[in-house]
Point group: C2
Chain length 417, copies 2
């Protein structure tokens, strides 16, 4: 029976720990003291896992490194963000390898689940285990890579029913991984020949989504200038059997907008400038500007004076039905638009107001005023917005108002009415 330490208790680590705890003895480690404290009380601030489940799990939640000593298996699920210059920020990853390096003993298995670029898992193991500790791969320790495929906010696709890739440094470690993951993954495992193939697969998954959204964002940019409603166009194109139903939008969060930079970093190191992926990143990172231009031009046509408009934002999280506000591009939209209009109220019943204040210095409203706004931006298809219904939402606006339904969630086009 394996004794497993999970390093990093975020969106990826916590559900993984919960599932594995049904079969193995689990230590849940996180450097964030507050996180560890609240998890010990059964509270998941992400609203992802219910208190009952956490309390019942019998996981040792800790931020003390020494608690890692007893484990024979380490699974790393720390974030892999980017720096301001869009290069990979390997701080958490290096720290995790270093911490584990202090405790790793003979035949221990170390598995990485975070998104990296191909080669990085072996590179870090080589640096922190082989060079620093003098251990030999496949003799003194085993290495594995199994990319997480968590879909935050998705209650249907969960860790059990999403197929999982596993890869390892040799057959012994692969066999160990098979035993561990097959206990919890009901959708099956896909084994790749090398760790590099598994790393590559993960890093292109979100990059593909990113480029597809970038394509429709570019299309939006072209058609909007011609007063052609992109949503009507996408609806028509989607009647072709192989058209892919992506929608224009802001690409935030810590996966789709971030992972591609790991790939482009590696690519540039190889001497190849990845024009397609970077062009996609560029338009997605600037989509808030395209939205503002589109809105301003429409408001102008409707004889509004931008500077006098009271605006309501519906949504702040980085995606629908999700409380996560990290790297939400609605913040950028707000930042660039607020000086151009009179006032912007932001309403999002999913996010934590204290956290918003702490991170963005923004004060959210508790509920929108009735018949008050000159413009309503429907930015996310949160279920709570959908169940409010279109009529209640436009009732927040004055009689004469602009409604901007970015993702066409009410299926009435970009500027309904």
């Amino acid at each position: 029976m394996f004794k497993i330490s999970i390093i990093g208790l975020g969106y990826v680590g916590l559900p993984l720990a919960i599932e594995l705890s049904k079969f193995f003895k689990i230590v849940g480690f996180d450097v964030n003291k507050t996180r560890v404290k609240s998890l010990s009380k059964g509270l998941d601030i992400n609203n992802d896992i219910l208190p009952k489940k956490i309390n019942k799990s019998n996981i040792l939640f800790t931020n003390k490194k020494n608690d890692l000593a007893d484990s024979d298996t380490y699974i790393i699920t720390v974030p892999t963000p980017i720096l301001k210059n869009n290069n990979p920020d390997l701080f958490f990853l290096k720290k995790a390898f270093q911490d584990i390096g202090n405790f790793i003993t003979k035949k221990n298995l170390v598995i990485l689940e975070s998104t990296v670029y191909p080669g990085l898992t072996e590179e870090l193991a080589n640096k922190y285990f082989v060079k620093q500790r003098g251990l030999i791969l496949n003799k003194d320790f085993y290495l594995g890579y199994s990319p997480e495929r968590i879909n935050p906010g998705d209650k249907i696709k969960n860790i059990r029913n999403i197929k999982k890739i596993i890869s390892a440094s040799n057959n012994i470690s692969l066999k160990k991984m098979r035993i561990i993951y097959s206990k919890i993954i009901k959708a099956g495992l896909h084994e790749t020949k090398t760790i590099k193939i598994a790393e590559s697969a993960k890093v292109i998954e979100n990059a593909q989504r990113d480029i597809n959204i970038a394509f429709v964002n570019e299309v939006f940019n072209i058609f909007d200038k011609l007063n052609i409603d992109t949503h009507q166009v996408l609806k028509a194109a989607s009647t072709k059997w192989n058209f892919l139903p992506f929608k224009p939008g802001l690409v935030g969060g810590h996966c789709i907008g971030v992972d591609p930079y790991y790939l482009t970093y590696l690519s540039k190191m190889q001497g190849y400038h990845p024009d397609v992926i970077l062009a996609g990143r560029n338009i997605n990172d600037n989509m808030h500007k395209i939205i503002i231009r589109s809105f301003a031009s429409h408001a102008h046509k409707k004889k509004f004076i931008l500077k006098e408009m009271k605006v309501l934002f519906l949504g702040l999280a980085f995606k629908e039905n999700c409380s996560d506000i990290r790297n939400t591009k609605i913040y950028n939209l707000h930042k660039d638009l607020k000086h151009k209009v009179k006032k912007i109220d932001i309403f999002d019943p999913y996010v934590n107001h204290t956290e918003v204040k702490k991170i963005y210095k923004l004060k959210l409203i508790k509920s929108p005023k009735i018949k008050h706004y000159d413009a309503i931006f429907i930015l996310l298809g949160h279920k709570k917005f959908m169940s409010l219904g279109y009529n209640k939402i436009i009732n927040f606006g004055k009689k004469k108002r602009v409604v901007f339904d970015l993702k066409n969630v009410f299926n009435k086009g970009l500027f309904p009415i």
Copy 2:
């Protein structure tokens, strides 16, 4: 009952004429005398429509303009290629509008099916019917746009079972189009509010395919340099529920590699440089160079001297199971590789040898030699190659040889052995 002239009898016009002839009196017009002659004899050089069907159709095939005089409906299905500078080549389109302009009489309906950029249908009607002939839209003539969605080489997806978009200048013309197309389209019609929306939908359909192939081509370019087999990576990534199974490859033909330039042309006219689409076009147009580099590096690793290698190309057409060689990028691959190796034999049982000689000045082989080649390029997944089987195909090669399976049609990776 409508009397319909179809202008342009290629991949789009011929099957459309055949289907419509079951319900209406059809004149099939093409400027190409040879094409008209062979069709009159029941022969379709594209091997698309069987002689029996053509002979039975009772279509008047003609290249005489006067035969257009009697019709009340004109459907334009001429090619819309690009010029050397990648700008739209509107020669055939303008000619078709001009020809029709001579015969159009009161209440006639003109429908365009060719791919254009949004606005062009109305622009051409305005120029050739309104300005040159003094006719008034929706009074003297009606206008419609219904983009073709023919998939050359696809025997399952045919004109009857592919949903079709229709759009028109007013309700009367839309009603006429509904009557005409609902006779032959069993998959249903999708009506858009404006002609521009239908034009936009069509022009992004192939552009989306193009960018997706460009993405995997770029990924191929990155991973190949690291000796990571892209096909293994794609296979692993495809185990995620929403990963799109595109494959690296050469993008030729007269749709996917051409249509995006209509969109980028329009975009540049609007003052926006479409970086994403153009980056995609650029890598796809240069994919043959990436293939050569990948091959050369692999051959080098296997201790081959490039200059001494006898190479076999399997495939020349622009796509699988298709005889069409127009704008096939395998020609570019051949052109750039032939000076680097000893000899290249090309084998493609689908294409017309005389046409290949005429267009490309290339002489194809009738069958590959046994145990003769140092390298075998499997460039297309033609059914005839698949049914030969992998063992027969590698038997064309010497004992020591390189096999390059570009699209992984035999599911053994890029460089199987």
